[in-house]
């Protein structure tokens, strides 16, 4: 299974489109936005724009990596017959989805860490060690619902629909979660949609950590509930996709 994981990581890191979309984009946007608004300070929390944006773009990169590393590759493998190739080897069925989950979690890290590195190097962002650890850990573990969503999409849809659905899902979650512009600027209906989405709670946990606050239990519960719900959906969809009729 370790070798399987290695193979999964290798292939994604060789995929140029993936690298551009999920690693280069968030870093570039961070550099751009932090140059524009990096020195603005939030009146309520006293957090600088460069720090808030680091959380936003880190969260966006992690969200994008979660969905893009899971949905389309998995859908393609199902359709192309690679899944069958694996099913006729001694590899136990459950290792496929577990490996995919772990691989996606590893693939989230470059985007997350590079955005943080860009923040430190270009905006001289500094946080207490505890906040760094908490922030990275929260944004990392918090990707589980998004990976589960990606795997569910990949199990249910063929590649040519999985691709647009994954992209729309990714941008939709990012936009409504307030990663591109603050949720306070949204109209009321959008706001109420945003509040139930996992990306909103996910990003807020990050912002609360860098503001030196303890994340609200309701936010953590929100992400956890989505993780359980989407995880169950992903498992169900996976079982349906691999059923032997």
């Amino acid at each position: 299974m370790r070798h399987y994981l290695k193979i999964e990581l290798l292939r994604m890191l060789r995929n140029k489109r993936y690298i551009i979309f999920v690693i280069a984009f968030p870093v570039l946007f961070y550099l751009l936005y932090s140059n524009l608004w990096g020195s603005e300070v939030d009146q309520a929390t006293g957090v600088k724009g460069s720090v808030t944006l680091m959380v936003s773009m880190g969260a966006y990169g992690a969200l994008a990596a979660s969905i893009m590393s899971s949905a389309v590759p998995w859908s393609q493998e199902r359709q192309s017959g690679w899944l069958r190739q694996l099913q006729i080897t001694p590899l136990p069925g459950w290792t496929i989805i577990v490996t995919k989950l772990i691989a996606s979690m590893v693939l989230v890290l470059p985007a997350l860490l590079l955005v943080a590195l860009a923040a430190v190097l270009t905006q001289h962002v500094s946080l207490p060690a505890g906040e760094w650890v908490g922030l990275i850990a929260a944004l990392w573990i918090g990707t589980i619902p998004f990976i589960a969503l990606g795997l569910a999409i990949g199990s249910v849809l063929p590649p040519d629909t999985a691709q647009p659905v994954a992209v729309i899902g990714m941008f939709g979650l990012a936009l409504l979660g307030g990663l591109w512009f603050p949720e306070s600027l949204m109209p009321e209906t959008m706001k109420s949609i945003a509040h139930v989405l996992p990306s909103y709670d996910y990003a807020n946990i990050g912002w609360q950590i860098v503001a030196g606050e303890t994340p609200q239990a309701s936010m953590i519960l929100g992400v956890a509930a989505w993780a359980v719900g989407l995880g169950a959906l992903a498992l169900l969809a996976y079982r349906r996709a691999t059923v032997r009729a």
Partner: protein
């Protein structure tokens, strides 16, 4: 010991019967061709052997246990009809990955050599031609050193030369005492590369034996000669004869045993036989005759 045993296996998709009460034993160490037209149930049978499909009724055992258990033990390798590779991985990476999933794999270099891939080992799958991809898929099927190798129309995408090379590789794998079952609708392939041909049509076995036996079992031979205006009565009663046709003074008798028919023509009739010709059946005729009947 039987490598494979089908015991009254039926597979239905709704009302469509793909495999119809199939019973078949394949001893370990043999190379068997499943020969039949499209839709005969060959792929369905192979997918059931791999546990990818479940029989509607009946039982399949592979080396004495269920297909799932045989797959889990690493006893089976297969080259299915469809199967793409991971585009970003090289030939060596893909083959090595699959190889390592098996408990007793073949050495990587041996696998690459067996599939003529040594020179392509470093190439990415998305840079391979169709024929090269097929070779990689063969390599994936044998990489784990399976006791049973299943090939579902393995040469479908190959040109003549790749085909010849492919069967050479397959035979050398068979020579290591492995059991091989391949599905094909190419008669020549079945004839040249197997020691037993099982002809299937509409989900049933319609003939089973060596290629020679199958040819002989069908009234595909014919004996013809010039009859002129002599009477043709009694020809249909001669040994082996199944049909008599007369056209423009020339008679053609269809026979399952041309030797016996010719002998009877000379000994048991007083006909003046001129310009005698014996036409041999080929497997093609046998195949058409067999699959049409059912």
């Amino acid at each position: 010991m039987n490598a494979i045993a089908f015991n009254g296996v039926t597979k239905k998709y709704g009302d469509v019967v793909a495999v119809d009460g199939l019973s078949l034993d394949i001893p370990a160490g043999s190379t068997v061709a499943l020969l039949g037209p499209n839709g005969a149930g060959k792929s369905t049978s192979i997918n059931m052997l791999l546990g990818l499909l479940r029989p509607t009724s009946g039982e399949i055992t592979v080396f004495g246990s269920s297909p799932d258990e045989a797959v889990a033990r690493g006893d089976i390798g297969a080259m299915l009809q469809e199967g793409a590779l991971i585009p970003e991985l090289t030939v060596r990476e893909s083959v090595d990955f699959i190889r390592r999933l098996y408990p007793n794999p073949l050495p990587l270099d041996d696998v690459l050599r067996m599939a003529d891939l040594t020179d392509l080992a470093g190439r990415r799958a998305d840079k391979l031609s169709g024929g090269q991809t097929q070779r990689v898929r063969f390599a994936l099927a044998v990489a784990g050193g399976p006791k049973l190798l299943l090939l579902d129309e393995p040469t479908a995408a190959m040109d003549v030369e790749s085909r010849r090379a492919f069967w050479g590789n397959m035979r050398s794998y068979a020579a290591q005492g492995r059991t091989i079952v391949f599905a094909t609708h190419y008669l020549e392939e079945a004839d040249e590369n197997s020691d037993r041909v099982v002809v299937v049509a509409k989900g049933r076995v319609v003939a089973d034996g060596t290629a020679a036996e199958i040819k002989a079992g069908v009234a595909g031979h014919a004996v013809s000669f010039r009859l002129g205006d002599q009477p043709a009565a009694g020809l249909d009663a001669l040994a082996g004869v199944s049909a008599v046709e007369i056209q423009a003074g020339r008679v053609t008798v269809k026979t399952s045993d041309p030797d016996a028919t010719v002998e009877a023509l000379y000994r048991k009739t007083t006909l003046d036989i001129r310009d005698l010709q014996i036409h041999g059946a080929d497997l093609e005729d046998a195949f058409l005759a067999l699959t049409k009947e059912s």
